[in-house]
């Protein structure tokens, strides 16, 4: 699965895509492969304020439970509800249909220091 070039990647395998003042957050294919079959997704509710580097939710698989973090701070404006009914979407399509949440941010510059697709692919391709 190709790693999209329109976003940034953290060392803890989250991806961040900026559109204006909205940042969409997800986890990478490498992360979903490591987790194995995802069985449950729970993000913090819409309206929650997230501090930079703070936890935004949890993803569970048959094997383990993992916290998801956001490098950038903001307010949760939308959560991908379809994952509640079918968490396996996250395994199948982590970069598109498997997005986790959307944050409204004042300043997305914290993302500038993250890896681009090429750097991430070199590490975990």
């Amino acid at each position: 699965m190709a790693i999209p070039s329109d976003r940034r990647y953290s060392e803890s395998h989250e991806w961040f895509r900026v559109e204006g003042n909205i940042v969409t957050v997800g986890i990478t294919k490498h992360a979903t492969d490591e987790l194995t079959d995802i069985t449950y997704v729970e993000m913090n509710p819409v309206g929650t304020d997230v501090s930079p580097g703070g936890a935004v939710g949890e993803v569970e698989s048959v094997k383990t439970t993992a916290e998801v973090f956001s490098v950038v701070g903001g307010t949760i404006r939308e959560v991908n509800e379809t994952l509640g009914g079918d968490p396996s979407i996250l395994n199948e399509d982590p970069y598109d249909a498997g997005w986790l949440l959307k944050l409204e941010v004042d300043d997305a510059s914290a993302l500038d220091g993250l890896m681009d697709d090429k750097a991430y692919e070199q590490l975990h391709g």
Binding site: T36, D37, T39, Y40, E42, V62, K63, T64, T65
Partner: protein, 377 residues
């Protein structure tokens, strides 16, 4: 020693097979093993519905030989080894003096004065040291055959039918019996045992012959190949958890005794009484004391509400009071609901007791239940 810290994890004799089927490899107890080949849940369901093949070459295989082999094994095993007939396997614990579990093992009675023990990979070096410490008074030689051999498990309701196509003897084996087969020029030990809750076999053979034997085996299945699919460690874990089989490091540790774990069937507390030539076993006195006063906690099943899976070390609560600790948990692919095993105070461990599990982000109600969660039909 099997230390591989400088060279990285050791490959098993089935490494080419893992590569061929695209296994996602992980380091498990110093061995390079497939976590999964595709979806874990699909592998799990394949084993429940038809069949799965697991590489379990990482398990330790120790051979005991000599006039005192039986007497020595009776010293270190909680189960009685004396009286086992050739071709029989027995599940046993190896305990410390305090009655805690050093490991859980399967003992095979081979020809006279010869036994084979299959132990957990992570405990192999520890057990070898333990046996060396306790064997000087016995005329027994202990040979670690782990690296010279390979082992795989073929498990599922269709497996015996499929094996029936190549052998009439194997499907006629009773549970916990084995036979030694000459498959062309390859000598293999086939036992009707497993760790999935399904019928099936475990196969031990020469390491060099592992890949050719399996290719022959799979070829013989012909068009039925898909009836047995390769499975990884992750499915092995969810399968054994549904079947409530203990996993060392989770349900069993050096601090947990087998009686609390519900493994009383494998502890012969009166060993040496009926047959005085059989001595007592290490930990016998401590376990007799546990039996006399009764365990403080017992291993129980927990059925949590909702979809979240409890994990090892999460606390079990009765209101504000901590009454137990989760040892294993997952979303059961067969039951399509979360399940967990936990040690719970005996006061709260009768079936249908309402408790809670602290999942970190929330506390969820959970009801105790009898084990196992799954029994094959």
């Amino acid at each position: 020693m099997s230390s591989t810290t400088e060279t990285g994890p050791r490959n098993t004799p089935f490494e080419k097979l893992h590569e061929r089927f695209g296994g996602q490899m992980v380091d498990y107890a110093g061995w390079n093993l497939p976590l999964r080949f595709g979806s874990v849940i699909e592998e799990h369901r394949a084993v429940r519905a038809s069949g799965g093949l697991f590489d379990v070459s990482h398990m330790g295989r120790l051979r005991f030989m000599g006039p005192d082999a039986c007497r020595f094994l009776d010293r270190v095993c909680t189960r009685q080894i004396h009286g086992m007939s050739e071709g029989q396997c027995r599940y046993s614990l190896v305990c410390n003096e305090q009655g805690g579990c050093r490991d859980d093992v399967l003992v095979y009675r081979m020809e006279s004065e010869s036994y084979l023990m299959v132990c957990n990979a992570a405990n192999r070096d520890k057990l070898i040291a333990h046996f060396a410490e306790h064997s000087p008074d016995f005329d027994v030689s202990i040979d670690d055959q782990t690296l010279a051999t390979a082992m795989c498990a073929i498990q599922g309701p269709r497996v015996m039918d499929l094996i029936g196509g190549v052998s009439r003897e194997i499907p006629a084996l009773k549970r916990f019996r084995f036979t030694i087969k000459d498959l062309m020029v390859i000598k293999v030990i086939v036992s009707r045992t497993g760790y999935t809750g399904e019928d099936g076999v475990e196969v031990i053979l020469d390491a060099k012959m592992a890949t050719p034997a399996l290719e022959m085996f799979l070829k013989d299945f012909g068009e039925n190949d898909s009836m047995v699919r390769p499975c990884g460690l992750a499915a092995r874990d969810t399968l054994r958890l549904e079947a409530a089989m203990p996993l060392y490091g989770h349900e069993l540790t050096e601090d947990i005794d087998p009686l609390s774990a519900g493994l009383g069937f494998a502890v012969k507390l009166d060993k040496g009484v009926e047959h005085p030539e059989v001595g007592g076993f290490i930990g016998q006195q401590a376990l007799q004391e546990v039996a006399d006063r009764g365990p403080a906690r017992r291993l129980v099943g927990l059925l949590p509400e909702g979809r979240r899976s409890p994990r090892q070390h999460m606390q079990v609560l009765d209101g504000d009071r901590v009454v137990g600790e989760v040892t294993s948990g997952c979303l059961s692919p067969t039951l399509d609901r979360p399940i967990a095993m936990a040690y719970v105070d005996v006061a709260c461990c009768s079936p249908d007791t309402s408790l809670q599990i602290d999942l970190g982000r929330a506390k969820v109600p959970a009801t105790t239940c009898e084990l196992p969660f799954y029994k094959r039909p």
